[in-house]
């Protein structure tokens, strides 16, 4: 398992939160979060829109003041040592944060100056990060003429340009096509593994959290409801599910299968038999033989392995897509509006 590595030995956490809370009037957006994120970790905050992920990021990046509780980023307190925090981090915000009237290169140049880089260093880093996100050829085009994906990549490049210890990304692939998303995942993995940048990202895409993150915290209503590696989280859900659609003999088949010790549970839902089984792929042949023996006719077999979606469903009682899908579309529309 590719968990967090050697950097842990440095002792101090990259980020620590104790009782971190943010209230907007009556509404509690973030509710007493306690969490430590290790140095060198690629950490995911997973939750539906409005769960409080972005608010956590905004407090950690000094954009919002906590109502209660404390947080430290790379050893610096987010309310008392704001500039020290700012020097340690790079941020890629959820909504575009570029000046569309300037070119990509000029946006990066502005960034470099704000982070105190001198001319030659800026030049070097700009070329380096443009190369990294494949935008070298588009560098001198005004950013209002960039596509959403290009804009996003430039923002990631910018977030990395000053070699931050910790990189925050708020929904880095929201509204992007599958290919661009995979590209961005690759950049982030490289940054994390090769350069040792600690990365914290928020997402409501399960695949993203699963594919990228060393550890995932599932956030619901401003609280952490689950925290572990993606594979441990999935193991908690337990067995695989085998679904059998049966033309006839369902009852007989069920009573036959029930006698096997490796069948954890068996139910019938809307005419489909659902078996909870460990290592389901190796059990399917046995199930088919058993069906033959007791004269049941199976018309289709389905196999479902636990996903983070199931973990999410278990802990929050909802599917993430019920909210995520609609707001994903909204996000895309917002980006269109902004680009005008």
């Amino acid at each position: 398992m590719d968990g967090p590595q050697p950097s842990q030995s440095k002792g101090e956490a990259a980020i620590s939160m104790q009782g971190l809370t943010k209230r907007f009037g009556e509404m509690t957006a973030v509710d007493h979060i306690d969490l430590e994120i290790n140095r060198g970790e690629l950490f995911g905050l997973l939750g539906a829109n409005g769960a409080g992920k972005s608010t956590i990021i905004k407090m950690l990046t000094t954009m919002l003041m906590p109502t209660e509780g404390e947080a430290r980023v790379w050893g610096h307190d987010v309310t008392r040592e704001r500039n020290a925090v700012r020097s340690s981090i790079g941020v890629v915000f959820q909504d575009p944060a570029v000046d569309g009237m300037l070119t990509g290169r000029e946006n990066l140049d502005f960034h470099g100056r704000m982070y105190g880089m001198d001319g030659p260093l800026r030049q070097e880093r700009i070329d380096e990060v443009l190369e990294l996100v494949d935008l070298a050829e588009k560098a001198d085009i005004k950013m209002e003429d960039y596509s959403g994906g290009m804009q996003r990549r430039l923002e990631i490049a910018r977030g990395l340009m000053h070699y931050p210890h910790v990189l925050f990304l708020d929904e880095p692939t929201l509204g992007l096509d599958a290919q661009t998303r995979r590209h961005i995942w690759q950049y982030l993995r490289n940054m994390n593994k090769d350069k040792g940048v600690t990365i914290i990202l928020t997402t409501h895409y399960m695949e993203e959290a699963d594919a990228l993150c060393d550890r995932v915290a599932i956030i619901d209503n401003g609280k952490i409801v689950a925290l572990d590696t993606p594979s441990n989280l999935k193991d908690m859900i337990g067995s695989d599910t085998v679904s059998l659609e049966v033309q006839s003999g369902a009852e007989a088949l069920m009573s036959c299968l029930r006698s096997f010790p490796w069948v954890n549970s068996i139910v019938i839902v809307n005419g489909t038999i659902e078996l909870m089984v460990d290592h389901a792929q190796s059990r399917i042949p046995e199930i088919m033989q058993e069906a033959n023996k007791c004269g049941a006719v199976i018309t289709s077999v389905g196999l479902h392995k636990p996903t983070l979606e199931d973990v999410f469903l278990k802990y929050t009682g909802r599917k993430i897509r019920e909210t995520g899908g609609a707001s994903g579309l909204m996000g895309t529309m917002m980006m269109h509006r902004r680009r005008k």
């Binding site: 905004k58 990046t61 000094t62 954009m63 919002l64 003041m65 500039n83 020290a84 700012r86 020097s87 981090i89 941020v91 915000f93 909504d95 575009p96 944060a97 570029v98 000046d99 569309g100 009237m101 300037l102 000029e106 502005f110 960034h111 100056r113 704000m114 982070y115 105190g116 910018r158 902004r338």
Partner: protein, 256 residues
Amino acid sequence: MRQDLNAIYSIWLREMLRFFRLKSRVFGSIASPFFFLAFMGIGFGGGTTMSGIPSGVGYVSFLTPGIIGMTLLFSATFAGLSVIWDREFGFLKEIMVAPVSRIAIVLGRTAGGLTTGILQALIILVAGIFMGMKMPSIDGFLLSLVFMVLVAATFIGIGLAFSSKMKDMSGFSLIMNFLIFPLFFLSGALFPLERFPGLIRDLAYLNPLTYGVDGLRYSLIGTSALSPVVDLAVLAICCAAMLFLGAYLFENTEVK
């Protein structure tokens, strides 16, 4: 400290890039003061005399410093308010998350607004001279620059204060109609304050622009209603107060 100077410079540089890249903005912002200058100057200029303007001072000479004040009022307030655009388009977050002091951000904005405002004011000055305003002396010109800086900085501060409290541009026309235009008309930019009835004249003396226009008149055409020392003192106080207020409110904004 050095890092803050860097930040002031980079914010100023960005304002310059944006200003010169948007040709329509340059022309748009200079057009309305230019039309005021041209049409008021032609309409009231020539042979007519206006009570309150010292004899021997033509209306165009009287008007030009007023229109310079107008130019500074509009461009400086907009420069301060442009933070709202940055908020709307997200760029404010990029600025706010940078490891620089908030006062450097305010000063960078102010420097940008000052530069563009004074550039526009100088264009109006040249236009006024073409229309028949007497050439100012070198000393007078240099003194007028001081007044220009103070006027511009005052209204940048006011713009910043408003932009820290406004979430989007929806309040813009309110500010335009109930703040900027009244300040303009109540400044004596177009005609002498003594033509106003007493109560309105008192109101005009609560307006920082009144002192700016008066000081500009003193430095550019050598005539003023108040002592230039009073003008300078009042403006300097307003300028410091407004910049402080703008910086204070800006410092405490959260970026949602």
